[in-house]
Amino acid sequence: MSGPPKTPIFLERASYKQRRLTDAARLLPIMGAVLWAIPLLWGDDDGAGVSNAHALIYVFGVWVVLIGLSALIINRLQDDDTAAQSDSAD
């Protein structure tokens, strides 16, 4: 295949980390969507539904986790140029 210039199979530790960080950045919204969809599975076995406080804390808790993880990833992720490279290399 005559594609973009071949990138080496094994990257240095630093760029390997960057790659995985971009993976994490990409997965984060999917994780958020899944976590926020989980309440849909909460059963009504006891007929009383889920307690208000429980639901509220869960939804807002997921939110805090997402914000925290996002800030963490971005803090570690290098600037766009290097990131863009690894973007196209996958």
Binding site: G3, P29, W36, N52, L56, L66
Partner: protein
């Protein structure tokens, strides 16, 4: 109790503060101190226009009615921001590289700079935004009413209308003042963005203050609060699964597609890195905005009398608790939410309307008229934007009046979102799928628009308002599967979910189908490649492959759009970049493309392209460009080919330079050799002359010696003269200054003359001729021809080394030429010297015998070339010979052969 006048005063003071903030920010930016204005913090805060008055006030009411569902409106944007890597990063890069002015510009530009698509997206956006603006007016008006009524004033309908109108007028003025100052959207609205950031802080603080008051002031702490929430009448989690997911999707999509969000996310983005900060900071903002919504709703329901409007709890709870200051702050928060949203929405919509509707129409009307003035387009655009802003607000106000300002309006927020979201398939398809075409996008958009209008927008006016109840129940003309809320016979879905589902499905379906079945135009494919591969190839293939437009015409046109000063600055910069003096650059394809981008920043891609197209003579995407975008491999291949070609070209240039250098060196060596030869040839006879003249001067010798030495001096002087004559002759011949003196004569007679002049009287050279062959009439400079013959004959006399020297002159003819061959019976010229003998100063044999400077044959060759013939040394069957070639055509020799 807050006196109503105090409230008015607070509102007006707040507006005055916003004015000064915006004004100072503009001043600062104009002075070049925009660093602080362009921080990630300001960018993040500017995104808060997503939180409108509808969410500021309405979220609490929403929570009171439907529990946690209100939060979906924030969860969608959170997911989009957290997932910035997927779409926003790409969108911002595209927006910056293509200098996009609006979401309509994005769609139009991506699909071949299509004017039609720009119009469609603009229409969708305006239709969808109008109810939303009405909603803002309603919120502000209601909040005023709350204070007025708490002051025991009773508001009737006209009070509401008047308030709404004044709010609309005030917003229009503010927006026009700060929103249409710059034409180039990419210059950004520093003032407005700054004002919005301030408003973002105000509304967040207001909501947090109310929340803190409710949790700690009323409920008595978080634990107490949670307890209260658990025991509240509200059921927080009782979700329709379809609605929960649909609404998260809807809000996420709307976040991307709302014109005002596109404005702050992409157009006003000053630095791509700001997005990285906003990706977690904005979700945090949303989190804080919704944190106290449920507590306020729960407390409001507990405290306030049954039947109170939960949409106004944010105001009424503090008021009921006697917290007037807090209530005013809360009022300002809601006011901020409404105004910031309306301002940005009006700017975004006005940009779209002016760029995609007004300007194309105006240019069309103008095309017949030739009178063009510097900046005239600019004036039209600015005027169009101002009128559009007023128009958008007027539409919102009219909608507010018509809808009656009731609860029907509140329900339309999500309906309006769904309309906006119809752009999503074209947007996502456009930036991720190169196969998406203009036809596909148009099909999808129109389909989506129709479905949305039918299933959500028209029914939102209430049953019987636009669509009669019977159509709702039984479908148009009794066709049941066309029922607005049960398309294709699928019943039992929530109407909103139903509308989202079908409009999105059919919209996307038509986009894909239309794209698969149609073939994109060249420009579409080019743009498609640029959008989809925005990260792979920052350097785009130029869309303008030839530059037929004159720089003057382009300048005139640019001045019409940008105004004289800016346009000239751009042209001068370019001229400087190209290394030219003066202000007009070369119209290279690269420059035209850059210029188009500049213009696109003002009038949108489609209009800029059309205007430049008029000057350069239509669409100029060539077959080569098509090949270039055919596929990725071809592109990269072509790129590397170009690199190779470039380096090959450099290699060629370098080689040419080396050759030239070698030639120059050789020439200089030749020149040195030539000068040293001339020096030698001149000095040798002069040496004899000088020496013998000194001997004669000194006297003291015999008369015989005296006579002999005088003879030597005489001979050498003649030799010197001959040499100088030859040199001059050669120089004249070589410089082409020779005047040819045409005569007609008989070859035989010419040879007679030559033999007579060759000085054979004291030589034993025998000449052999065949006079029959020589019967040829020639027309040429016969004196020169004789000179050549003399030279060849005397060469034979000098150099023929046979004991009985003999020179045979043979004349032969071919269809084209006469040959005169001079053959002597000597040993001839060694093969390795054959090429040398015609060179200047080449003397193969002993020079002392030559008596010449070795210029004779060089002169012969020059003469023959001037006469159109040649002289060579040829090896023939009958021995080697000097051959003089006389072309029949050149010599006019066909005259008569006797």
């Amino acid at each position: 109790m807050v006196p109503f006048n105090v409230l008015i005063f607070a509102a007006l003071s707040y507006v005055a503060i916003l004015f000064s903030v915006a004004f100072l920010a503009e001043r600062r930016a104009a002075a070049g101190h925009s660093d602080w204005l362009q921080s990630p913090l300001i960018y993040t805060l500017s995104l808060s226009i997503y939180c409108t008055a509808w969410t500021f006030y309405g979220a609490v009411g929403y929570a009171a009615r439907s529990g946690l569902e209100f939060v979906t409106i924030y969860l969608g944007p959170t997911l989009v921001m957290v997932g910035w890597w997927w779409i926003l990063r790409r969108l911002v890069r595209i927006g910056r590289s293509q200098r996009l002015t609006s979401i309509a510009d994005l769609i139009s530009s991506r699909f071949g700079k299509s004017t039609l698509l720009g119009v469609v997206v603009t229409v969708i956006s305006v239709v969808a935004a109008t109810p939303y603006i009405a909603l803002q007016l309603q919120s502000v008006t209601l909040s005023f009413a709350v204070f007025a009524q708490s002051g025991a004033e009773s508001w009737d309908r006209s009070d509401f209308n008047a308030t709404a109108m004044w709010v609309a007028v005030g917003l229009a003025v503010f927006t026009i003042l700060f929103g249409t100052r710059n034409l180039d959207v990419n210059e950004r609205h520093h003032g407005i963005v700054m004002a919005i950031a301030v408003e973002a802080v105000v509304k967040l603080l207001a909501l947090l203050a109310v929340g803190v008051f409710v949790v700690w002031g009323v409920a008595g702490g978080p634990a107490e609060m949670l307890n209260r929430i658990d025991n509240s009448d509200i059921t927080l989690w009782d979700q329709d699964h379809g609605r929960w997911i649909s609404l998260i999707f809807l809000s996420a999509a709307a976040f991307l597609c709302l014109p005002r969000m596109f404005q702050v996310l992409v157009v006003e983005n000053a630095d791509e890195r700001h997005l990285r900060v906003a990706s977690w900071a904005f979700p945090l903002y949303l989190f804080l905005m919704s944190l106290f919504v449920v507590p306020i709703a729960v407390v409001g329901l507990d405290l306030l009398p049954a039947g109170s409007n939960p949409d106004l709890f944010v105001l009424t709870v503090p008021l009921a608790q006697g917290q007037d200051g807090l209530a005013v702050l809360s009022f300002l928060g809601g006011f901020s939410s409404a105004t910031s949203m309306v301002i940005v929405a009006a700017i975004a919509l006005a940009t779209m309307v002016s760029n995609h509707i007004v300007v194309p129409v105006w240019l069309n009307l103008q095309s017949n008229r030739q009178a063009m003035m510097s900046g005239d387009v600019r004036h039209v655009i600015l005027l169009a934007r101002r009128l559009s802003i007023a128009g958008v607000l007027a539409l919102g106000f009219i909608y507010y009046r018509m809808s009656g300002g009731g609860t029907a309006l509140a329900a339309i927020g999500l309906v309006s979102f769904t309309g906006t979201v119809q752009v999503l398939p074209a947007l996502v398809g456009g930036i991720f799928w190169r196969g998406a075409t203009r036809v596909g996008a148009a099909c999808g958009l129109v389909t989506g628009l129709i479905i949305w209008t039918w299933t959500l927008f028209l029914p939102s006016f209430g049953a019987g308002a636009v669509i009669s109840q019977s159509i709702m129940d039984f479908g148009p003309w009794g066709i049941e599967w066309l029922r607005p809320q049960a398309l294709f016979g699928i019943t039992g879905l929530d109407p909103l979910v139903h509308g989202i589902l079908w409009s999105m499905l059919l919209n996307s379906g038509m986009l894909i189908l239309g794209s698969l079945l149609s073939f994109p135009a060249p420009l579409e494919r080019l743009q498609g490649a640029q959008f989809v591969n925005v990260f792979e190839r920052s350097v785009a293939a130029p869309a303008w492959t030839r530059a037929a437009a004159a720089a003057e015409d382009l300048l005139v046109m640019s001045q019409r759009i940008l105004g004289g000063r800016e346009a000239q600055a751009i042209f001068e910069r370019e001229a400087e970049r190209q290394g030219l003096t003066g202000y007009l650059p070369e119209t290279t394809p690269e420059f035209i493309e850059r210029l188009e981008r500049e213009l696109a920043g003002s009038v949108g891609a489609a209009t800029a392209h059309a205007m430049i197209g008029q000057l350069t003579g239509g669409s100029v995407v060539s077959v080569e460009d098509l090949i270039a975008v055919a596929d990725e491999a071809a592109q990269i291949l072509e790129y590397s080919n170009r690199l190779e070609a470039k380096s090959a070209e450099q290699e060629r240039t370098a080689r040419a330079l080396r050759d030239a250098n070698a030639k120059l060196t050789a020439l200089s060596v030749q020149k040195d050799a030539f000068l040293s030869q001339i020096s030698h040839e001149l000095r040798t006879p002069m040496t004899s002359i000088r020496s013998f003249s000194e001997i004669l001067r000194d006297g003291d010798m015999s008369a015989a010696e005296q006579g002999r030495y005088a003879g030597i001096i005489h001979d050498e002087a003649i030799r010197l003269t001959r040499l100088l004559d030859d040199l001059l002759d050669l120089s004249v011949l070589e410089n082409g200054q020779v005047v040819l003196n045409e005569q007609t004569g008989d070859l035989s007679a010419l040879l007679d003359r030559a033999i007579g002049a060759a000085g054979l009287h004291d030589s034993d050279l025998k000449i052999v001729r065949n006079r029959n062959e020589e019967a040829v009439m020639l027309s040429a400079d016969l004196d020169r021809l004789v000179q050549v013959f003399i030279n060849l004959i005397s060469n034979a006399r000098k150099y023929c080394d046979a004991t009985a020297p003999e020179l045979t002159i043979e004349v032969s003819r071919t269809p084209n030429d006469y040959y005169v061959d001079f053959v002597d019976n000597g040993s001839g010229i060694a093969p390795e010297n054959e090429q040398l003998i015609f060179e200047k100063f080449s003397r193969v044999s002993d020079q002392s015998k030559a008596g010449g400077a070795g210029l004779g044959l060089a002169i012969c060759r020059e003469i023959m070339h001037r006469l159109g013939g040649d002289v060579d040394y040829v090896r023939r069957a009958k021995g080697a010979a000097f051959r003089v070639t006389l072309p029949k055509a050149k010599m006019g020799a066909v005259l008569a052969e006797t």
